[in-house]
Every structure is written in structure tokens, then in C-alpha cells.
Amino acid sequence: MEGQKGDNPLGQQAESLAGKMQEVRAEISKAIVGQGEVVDGVLIALLAGGHVLLEGAPGLGKTMLVRTLAQAVALKYSRIQFTPDLMPADVIGTGVVQENGEGRKSLGFQPGPIFTNLLLADEINRATPKTQSALLEAMQEKQVTVAHTSHQLEEPFFVMATQNPLEMEGTYPLPEAQLDRFLFKLRVPFPGREDLHDILDRTTQGSTKVVISVIDGPEIMEMRRVVRTVPVAPHVQEYVVKLVLATHPEGRENLLANKYIRYGSSPRGAQTLILGGKVRALLDGRFNVSMEDIRALLLPALRHRIILNFEAQADGRTTDDLLNEIAGKISQI
């Protein structure tokens, strides 16, 4: 058995992945206190090849988390502060007149800040829908098209957007197509008492910890390849399918969805659950996806893919409540 284990490079990579991610987690924890679930969600999305939408009140460390992650994984990092007057060209780049060595002028492409590995789209809901849509192609196809010319983005390309749920004035809610392109929507909670003490100790004293890079881009890409080889049992996949179908009000037996949900999850939701489950299994030291992985990722993977109807809003129901109820009913079947 040990001989087989030693002759198995994929198995070794899978085991090393968990160790590497543990190191990244430790580096992030130098700057970020607590927020374990948010950090895990960000790492899972990074290895699954998706993007993350962070939602939380100001001052909870969203921007700090993204910056620390960029340092820990040694990736190119850029930040765009989204404002109402931001234009798409400010994000993806534009054509400018360039002069070569011979003095001849030509129209050349000047890449925007999107050409990076780790993009922080701060307060993304403050930009107009036109500017928000500039991210659509980049997030899904990992390329940008300007003046009939497509420009490939460098892998890994990872977008982390933040939005403030409190200040709704002067904001433009993200369109459904944009929301669906985020792998997870993570809610950043307010830190607890112990964490708050720790934050005060770290930030109000002179000493600052330096974050070291423990992993680079190619390693992340290799990890993404390993992640996709994790097997999934049929009943686990069936559970995912049932979950996604249960969010659709068209189903005859989906009483809860019929009552409160206007639009259910897209197939991307099911893909997210399976891919995220694979990463979570590897981070947990397993080599198969379990039902617990799916249940743990249910809320961040599906909460932004479901649109509630007026009745749900009038009854004060949230997507998290409904998803938990749906999962509870499906597990009993």
C-alpha cells in the first residue's frame, strides 16, 4: 500500500495541495483575524477557478483580505475603485495612438487594470451597469475584446469584488448575468469579541507581520487540474441535481420555491457545488466529495443565484432561510 502511495503522483499532489493551502491560510491569518469561513471560501474559489463576491459592512477587512491573499499567493494584483463615472475603457483598456522608433504612429491597445491575476473590484455596485458589464467577458471567457480584437487574460485570473449592503443610495445592483458569474457570494460577518481584541492588539501596536508568498500562479493552475480529478459518487451528484432543481418554482413538488422564488439557480450553481465540493474534500484530507461538502457550500454557491418574489420580501424571507429549508427537505427524501 505504501509503495502504491509513493508511486502515485496525483495522489501526492492531492495530499500536498492540502498542505499548501494550510500554509496559505496561515499566512493570511497573519493579517486577517478570524473570518475563517470567508478565508476558506476565498481559497476554495481560487482553486476551483471561480470568482468571489464579498459582501459586508465597511471596515471588516474585505480589501485587506484580498491584498493579503495576493501577497500570499504571489500573484499580480490590481485594484479598481468602482465609481459612477467609471467607464468600461478604464477597466479593460483602450486603443491609443502610439509612435514607434521610426516615428510612425499607429493605434495600439493599452491594457487596462483588468490584465492582472488578482483583481479587486472595490464597491462594484457603485459603477453603472455599462461598466459592470465590461467584466462579463473577462470573468467567463478570461479574455477581453476591444476593437474586434480579443486579448487573452493571464491565468490564473481571479476577480474579487466587494459591495456594501448598507449604502444602497447611488448604487446599481449587479445584473443577474453578472451575479451568476461569481462562484461564491461570501458574507463577511462582524468579528466576535476575541477576534476584536486580537484586531486591536495587532493594529494599534508597532509590530506588523510580513506576509510571505508560499504558492505561485503555476502551482495554483496545477492544483486546479488536480481538483478536477476528485471523484464524485452518483448519489452525491444526484443530491446536487435535486438541490438545484428544488430552487426552481416550475417544479410541481417544490412548494417552497413555488411560493417564494421567482427564478431558481442556473446550472452554474450545480457546477459550483461539485467543483467547490471537490476542493473542500481535498482541503479536508479526503479524495471524494461527500454530502457534507455540498451542504457546507450550499449557501455561498446558491444564495446569489436565486431571485425571490414579492411574497418572500413581504414575509421577510431570505435566500439563506429558503435554501436551508430546501436542503432540509431534500435530505429527508
Binding site: N8, G11, E253, D284, V289, S290, A314, G316
Partner: protein, 523 residues
């Protein structure tokens, strides 16, 4: 959001039919159903069955725990199925032992059912046996192995597995080494075992009882049928049925539309013969008894008619009833003088010779009094109608002492009363004054009497009034005041019909008389 939180839209609580049906179906299947499938099978139905498949060598160590798990699950399925079958057989045996007089047949049928049930349970349990994949799912759930075993079993069919699958199998085997399936899946009696034990004890006790005694249910039924309570309950029903039969027979015999040529033999067809026949019948005590019974039957029928309500009302109004009694006595005497109906009860009371006629005298008197009381209201209307007709013709009011054959209606009534002797009781009850009226007039009078049954005070529904508020308006010369809302509720006693006292007396009198005499009111 705060405003949104205040809005509470009450969604219609609708229990959809399919959902309710599925709930009932689940309850039935849980308690009485024959399905022996485990709940997890729906979850694991996509998994392959590796019963006949050769396993990869690295999964050999998975086989033993899985085989143990499958056997335990199968055993529990078999026990659960047998317990259900046994419960039904025991219940049937108890019913048969309690009802069937032959105990041997019940025992033989129970034995046959046990044999058939055993075979059926074995077949059903074998068909519901878990596959290796399903057993692995159960094992994963019971041992909290995070679907390691089921994934390894599922991937057991993969040829040339990659490194990840091999690593997963190693992980599953390593984790399963610490699991003891026998402890996780004990052979346990199902919850229905207690119920089956109770039924078995009851069946044994019943059979011991049956060795010496008869079926207890039959004995209980006989004892109950003989008991006074049941007889006291049943006897009025039997009597009522007998009376109904008698009434039906009477109605059949006394068909008023029967042609005159259907007169029974012994009855006179002409008026002179009718006198003789009545005298003969009056002198014959047997005929007198028969007539009194028929009169009783006619009275009972009349009690069911709407005019029976008038009798009760007549008791509440003594002055009216006295007047009506006077009128009735006169009219009955006149009718005896004019109609000469052979079976009249008052004529029978005037034959004091035989003992039978004495006994029937008291009965017939009582019946006559009852008839008078009950018919008082109906006869009042008839009297008034009869009194108006002579007045219009300029004749003096002589009650109902009209000459037979003076009018067409009287002719009809006289001829009918003479021809059909058995109709006398009905005619007495319907027109005790002796004025024989046609069937149409009878129906009209009955309709008017049923209208008269409405009490003069009708209790109103006070709920709506009780919750209503009154607007009190105060006005004076040169003073304008706003309406004052009087929130004090109106008293219940006031709203229960007492406010009808505010109706002017003349209007009330008019309304009462309008309903009592609709024809007059129309005029």
C-alpha cells in the same frame, strides 16, 4: 426594511391535494405498507449493483464489512416484513375466533396464511435486499465516513483507474478498518413487535376461551338483543312501523278519487240506502270498533298535518279555542244531521248498548275532543268561509246547518260522504264543521293554515344588531351638533324581537290578518 417588516401579507394557507395525499400515503406505508425498501434506496438508486462483479484486489478488504452490513440489513428487512404479516394474520385470527363458530377452520386458515406469508415475506425481502452500493451508503452514514465507502464501491467498476481513484480506495480501506459493522447494524426487532406480541397474547387467550365456550361476539350480540335497553329502543320503532303500515293500508282503502262504482259490497249506493247502512253499522258493535280504529287512524294522520300545530296554538289562546269549540260543536251536530256519515265517532258514542261500544265510547270521545282541539284553527277559517257564502246570497246565518244538496259543492260532498264510508274520518278531521268541501278547497285551507302557524313574534338574529353602533343625533333650533357615536351595545333582550312592539297596533293587526286570510288581504 423597517416598513417592509411591518407588512405582513397573510398567504393563503392551502394544503394542496397531492401534498396531503403523499402525507397520508407515507403514514400508511410507514405503518401498514408492504414496501420493504429502505429510505436510502432512493438516494442510492443510481449506484450499480456489484453482486456478480469481480472486485478489484485493493477493495478486497471492503468486502467483508459490506457483506456483514448487507446480511444485517436483509435480516432486519425480513423481520420487519414478518412482523407486519404476522400482525395481520393475528388480527385476522382474532376476528375469526371471535366470530366463527368453527374454530378448526380459523386455525387451518391461519396456518395457511402463515405459510403463504412466509414465502411472500422471503420473496419481498429478497427483492428489497440492498445492493453493495446501498449497503456502502448505509455504512457511510452510520460510521460517518463522508461517503468514502460508497465512492470506492462506485469506482470499483472503473478499469485502469488513475492515481486519484487509487488514492481514494486506499483512503476508504484505511478508514473502514476501524469500523465494526456488527455494532452499527444490530439485528433488532421492529417497533411493531410489541403490537404483534399483544395480538399474539390476545389470540392465545381467545383460543383458550373458545375451547370451552362459543364465539364471544355472537354471545354478546344475543345478550344485547335480549336486553331491556335494546328492546326499549327497538319497540317504539316496531310500533311506529306497524302504525305506518296501518296508515298506508287506510290510505289505500280510502282513496277519495275512487269512482262510485267501486263501492264495497254491503254499502248503499243511494242516499236512502246510505241511511240504512249507517244505522246498520251503528247497531253492529264490530263495525263500530272498526270505525273507531279508522277514526283513530285518521286522527293520527291529522296530527301530522300542519293543522296539528294549530291545536297547540289553540291551547295557548283559550278565548279563541272556546269560541271555536262552540262553533265546532254546532257544526258537528249540523253535520251529523246533514251528512249522516255512517262511521262518525259521535254517532258511535250515541249507541250505549253493548260493552264494546262503551269502551269505544270513551276512546272515541277522547279522540273527538282531540280532534276538536286540533282542528279549532282550521275550522275557524272554514266557518268564516261558510258564513260568507250565505251572507252573499242573502240567507240567514245558520251555522253549517245547510240543507243537503243545496249547492253544488254540498252535493259533491254529500254524495262522496255517502258513497265512501271509510272517508269519514278524514273528512271529519279536515272539515269538522260538516261542510263537505272539494279537494281543492281543502288544499287551500291547509295552505292558509300553514301560513297561520307563523308566530306573531319572530326572533331576530341579534348578532348583527349587537355589534352595530348607533348614531345619536341631537338637533335643536339654531344649534347644529355633530352626530355622537353611541358605542354602548344594544341589549340582547331588546334585539330579540322586542323592538317589534314599536310597530303600530293597527299595522300589526293588518299583517296578522293578512297572513291569516290571504284571500281577504288580496281583496
Amino acid at each position: 426594511m423597517a416598513a417592509r417588516g411591518k407588512i405582513k401579507l397573510v398567504a393563503p394557507v392551502a394544503v394542496p391535494g397531492p401534498a396531503l395525499f403523499s402525507v397520508l400515503k407515507n403514514v400508511w406505508n410507514k405503518n401498514f405498507g408492504w414496501s420493504l425498501k429502505q429510505p436510502y434506496t432512493s438516494r442510492a438508486s443510481h449506484g450499480p449493483d456489484f453482486g456478480d462483479q469481480s472486485w478489484p484486489p485493493e477493495l478486497d478488504s471492503l468486502m467483508d464489512p459490506l457483506v456483514v452490513t448487507r446480511r444485517r440489513i436483509l435480516t432486519n428487512i425480513f423481520l420487519r416484513g414478518w412482523m407486519k404479516v404476522g400482525t395481520w394474520i393475528l388480527a385476522g385470527l382474532i376476528v375469526a375466533g371471535a366470530l366463527s363458530p368453527k374454530l378448526a377452520w380459523a386455525v387451518i386458515s391461519a396456518g395457511t396464511l402463515v405459510a403463504v406469508g412466509s414465502v411472500a415475506v422471503v420473496i419481498l425481502a429478497w427483492r428489497a435486499r440492498p445492493t453493495a452500493y446501498e449497503a456502502a451508503c448505509r455504512l457511510d452514514s452510520a460510521a460517518v465516513l463522508h461517503d468514502r465507502i460508497s465512492t470506492a464501491v462506485h469506482l470499483g467498476a472503473v478499469e485502469n483507474p488513475d492515481g486519484m481513484i487509487l488514492r481514494q480506495r486506499q483512503d476508504a480501506v484505511t478508514r473502514l478498518a476501524a469500523v465494526r459493522p456488527r455494532a452499527l447494524f444490530p439485528v433488532q426487532f421492529p417497533p411493531a413487535a410489541r403490537r404483534a406480541l399483544v395480538l399474539a397474547a390476545a389470540a392465545a387467550g381467545l383460543f383458550v376461551y373458545r375451547i370451552h365456550y362459543k364465539p364471544p361476539v355472537l354471545a354478546l350480540l344475543r345478550t344485547t338483543a335480549r336486553s331491556q335497553l335494546v328492546q326499549s329502543i327497538l319497540s317504539p320503532i316496531v310500533h311506529a312501523m306497524e302504525k305506518d303500515l296501518q296508515r298506508t293500508m287506510t290510505l289505500i282503502k280510502s282513496n277519495p278519487d275512487s269512482p262510485p262504482d267501486k263501492v264495497r259490497p254491503g254499502q248503499a249506493a243511494t242516499t236512502d240506502d246510505l241511511w240504512k247502512a249507517s244505522e246498520d253499522q251503528g247497531s253492529n258493535p264490530e263495525n263500530g270498533q272498526q270505525d273507531s280504529q279508522e277514526a283513530n287512524a285518521g286522527d293520527q294522520m291529522q296530527d301530522q298535518s300542519p293543522s296539528g300545530m294549530q291545536g297547540a296554538q289553540g291551547e295557548a289562546k283559550p278565548s279563541d279555542s272556546e269560541q271555536q269549540e262552540g262553533g265546532d260543536s254546532q257544526s258537528q251536530q249540523s253535520s251529523n244531521g246533514t251528512d249522516r256519515m255512517g262511521g262518525d265517532t259521535q254517532q258511535q258514542s250515541e249507541t250505549p248498548n253493548s260493552e264494546n261500544s262503551r269502551q269505544s265510547l270513551s276512546k272515541s270521545l277522547m279522540q273527538a275532543l282531540k280532534n276538536m282541539l286540533s282542528n279549532s284553527q282550521s275550522q275557524e277559517g272554514n266557518n268564516q268561509a261558510n258564513q260568507k257564502q250565505p251572507n252573499s246570497q242573502g240567507m240567514p246565518q245558520s251555522g253549517n246547518s245547510r240543507q243537503p244538496g243545496s249547492g253544488e259543492a254540498d252535493k259533491k260532498g254529500d254524495s262522496r260522504g255517502a258513497s265512501d264510508a271509510q272517508q269519514k274520518a278524514t273528512q271529519n278531521s279536515s272539515s269538522g264543521a260538516g261542510s263537505q268541501q272539494g279537494s281543492k278547497e281543502l288544499k287551500k285551507n291547509q295552505r292558509a293554515l300553514s301560513v297561520n302557524a307563523v308566530p306573531d313574534r319572530v326572533a331576530l338574529e341579534s348578532n348583527g344588531f349587537k355589534e352595530q353602533t348607533r348614531m345619536r343625533m341631537d338637533s335643536g333650533a339654531g344649534v347644529a351638533r355633530l352626530p355622537v357615536r353611541d358605542v354602548s351595545p344594544q341589549a340582547v333582550a331588546v334585539t330579540n324581537g322586542a323592538e317589534q312592539e314599536n310597530i303600530p297596533a293597527r299595522y300589526r293587526w293588518y299583517v296578522q290578518h293578512y297572513f291569516e286570510h290571504p284571500e281577504n288581504g288580496q281583496k
